[in-house]
Symmetry: C2
Subunit: 421 residues, 2 copies
């Protein structure tokens, strides 16, 4: 199977009009997707995207157009390597920023195509691969001081006999979720209270609040949430990179009385040593990060430095499915839970496949594992994420659930679509 063509789209939703998605670093996001459609030489299509929050989405689309010639006319099987090993393109990263976001969209589109062809939802396709096949999907350069291909193969083989049981369990019971919908920074207190009560009624056992703009506000909001939720529902807090290391330590000391389960993105996503220092200081509060971690090399170091308790991979920030398999293997080797970042546009749809695969074939554990859920923009996808009783239901439609409805691709096309006129 070869790639015959690549179509690209700049899709934006005017979410800043409602303050949905507002946090301390991102006050007015317009949730967006740089979107790619791969067409194979037999006419089959794979859809993939990366998520951005508005301005600059056209630059990621330009990156998609710049990468397309590397893969058109070529087989689909080595697409990830072709995109990340081009020597001239590599200079623009390596493996980070705009080019890597675009790579994620193309790699994910290729997996959507493969899974559709296999007639399986992506997580089941991945869970059907042998340990050797899974190991071969990873680019091991820069990883072998922490994990070797042989050690990864052993790790996968250890649990391969019981995979089928876990696949059945996932189909029956789904996978735990937590909700961020209650805690956006732009929401007034009464809305937070109402949404927190609703979250518990919906079966969620963890709620996340945005913090980091104003300490007095954060204390009030955390106190309110703890009162409404009681002592047994977990409250995660998320600073969206707002702090330097000393700020993070001081701010979390002031929030400790509300028993936060984790502090997410306390500082720069590039600051491995900073996360390690914060983690030592805020214990027993856990440190979580990942949605802005540029690539597997940084994830590797966060684990080597014992800098995180929770690995929050993102479906579209690193180079899609292939690089995320490296992250899942590293996290399993270091025995840290993966709790993916989701929300945005289509991230819930996509990333659930990775967590389902993780439980089925990699970590084999659900302990302290939850996938983020935000009730937002799902209606634009052909195979939207479904939640019941605070759990993601298992995806059943062939593919990676990354395909938007044709009418959404038209209406939210930027700047020419009707939503922007």
């Amino acid at each position: 199977m070869r790639i015959a063509s690549v179509r690209t789209h700049d899709i934006r939703f005017p979410t800043s009009r409602e303050l949905d998605g507002s946090d301390a670093m991102n006050p007015d996001p317009d949730y967006s997707a740089a979107y790619a459609v791969l067409q194979a030489d037999d006419g089959a299509e794979g859809h993939g995207f990366t998520f951005t929050i508005g301005r600059g989405n056209e630059v990621v689309r330009a990156a998609l157009d710049a990468l397309a010639p590397l893969i058109i006319g070529k087989p689909i099987d080595d697409l990830y390597q072709r995109l990340t090993h081009d020597s001239q393109i590599r200079w623009l990263g390596p493996e980070k920023g705009v080019m890597h976001l675009a790579t994620a969209a193309l790699v994910n589109a290729a997996w959507d195509l493969r899974a559709k062809r296999a007639g399986l939802p992506l997580w089941e396709l991945l869970a059907s691969l042998s340990p050797d096949e899974i190991v071969s999907l990873v680019d091991w350069r820069y990883l072998t001081d922490a994990l070797t291909p042989a050690a990864a193969r052993d790790l996968l083989s250890d649990s391969s006999d019981s995979r089928a049981d876990r696949v059945s369990e996932l189909k029956k019971h789904g996978y735990p979720a937590y909700t961020t919908s209650a805690g956006w920074l732009g929401y007034p207190d009464d809305k937070i209270e109402r949404l927190a009560r609703q979250a518990v009624a919906d079966g969620f056992r963890m709620v996340k609040l945005k913090v980091g703009a104003d300490l007095q506000d954060d204390v009030r909001r955390c106190a309110l949430a703890r009162t409404v939720l009681g002592p047994d529902v977990r409250i995660a807090v998320d600073a969206n990179q707002r702090w330097s290391v000393p700020d993070a330590v001081a701010w979390m000391a002031a929030l400790a009385e509300f028993d936060p389960w984790w502090i997410e993105e306390p500082t720069s996503p590039d600051d491995i040593l900073g996360h390690a220092a914060i983690r030592r200081a805020v214990h027993p509060v856990r440190v979580a990060t990942g949605e802005h971690i540029a690539n597997r090399v940084v994830f590797k170091q966060l684990l080597q430095a014992d800098a995180v308790d929770v690995v929050q991979l993102d479906a579209c920030r690193v180079a899609g499915v292939n690089e995320n398999i490296a992250v899942l293997l590293l996290a399993a080797a270091y025995r840290k839970p993966v709790c993916p970042h989701a929300g945005g546009v289509g991230l819930c749809e996509a990333v659930r496949h990775l967590s389902f695969f993780d439980y089925a074939a990699v970590s084999g554990s659900l302990d302290d594992r939850v996938i983020e859920y935000v009730d937002h923009l799902h209606e634009h996808f052909l195979d939207p994420a479904l939640i019941a009783g605070g759990r993601y239901l298992a995806p059943t439609v062939p593919g990676f659930s990354t395909q938007m409805r044709p009418e959404s691709l038209t209406r939210y096309a930027y700047p020419e679509g009707a939503a922007w006129q």
Copy 2:
């Protein structure tokens, strides 16, 4: 002074035709610049660029076009903050990859404009600022666990009385250089031998060889260079990120007999802990990196982790002059020499200003400090770097030396220029 307009250019030189610039990771670079011209409301112009090696340069140009609306009509003084603190754009990094390369070009163009207006070469303009003014140019977010503004001010104040002496000394004697022109991986042995002899005749006391593609070749080339150069001329080697950590350690053990001065870019530029491990293993050979370090947060950690001996800042990879001042201050605080990356297109022209400023006002030292020099493409600049006796002469023309000749901007415009027809 406000910005009235931003013009952008995609400039590429077909250097891959000659194997100049070939190394283990970049076999066929077409040295390129994403180039910006800021016009102030009084008509004055500042020119700046970032360096790439070909494919994807159009994406950086698209990033310049995406950033321009953030600064048009706005004062020039807070341009750096406007470009790096836009919440939607920030999602695409933060502060890394294509958007950050484009930010570098714009920030550098602003400094070219300021220095021209002041009637001073940039290094002298910077060396005329007070410690407080210099400190105010830095974005201190994410740095204060390693260096505070107050400590930076103290560091600058300590040497401010003797600045004038060092400025005079620089004008008289220039700044030491080393050459990479002899050691490109694509060159045959007889060419390396001839160019190494020429380098010594030209007054250079250090020569750099590219390594990392084939160990037997590297041993032969290093032996040849050591024989030709004798024991007293330093030989640096540069692997351009080719190795994982265990490879780097093994490979350098095999090259140790040739007494390399430093090993440059032994592994991924994102791998702080990897550099620290390599440094411990290859001692007394020094570890150098920087040309691909994404931002000040990663430089900070390389210093905190004692992972490097030599800080190789690049004029256009981090966000231009402002962020490089943070890097100079961090390096001075940790007492590590800065030996900038140069070569490419215009990097020698630009980065010498930063080293001259470093000696005049920041580190106050020339010990083990050298600026890379590559004899390449200087003819396209209005104020080309000048070398005599193995030293950079002090720039004397007002500005940042970042302006290309108009005829070069026309001839090498991609894809429409005559050089590409």
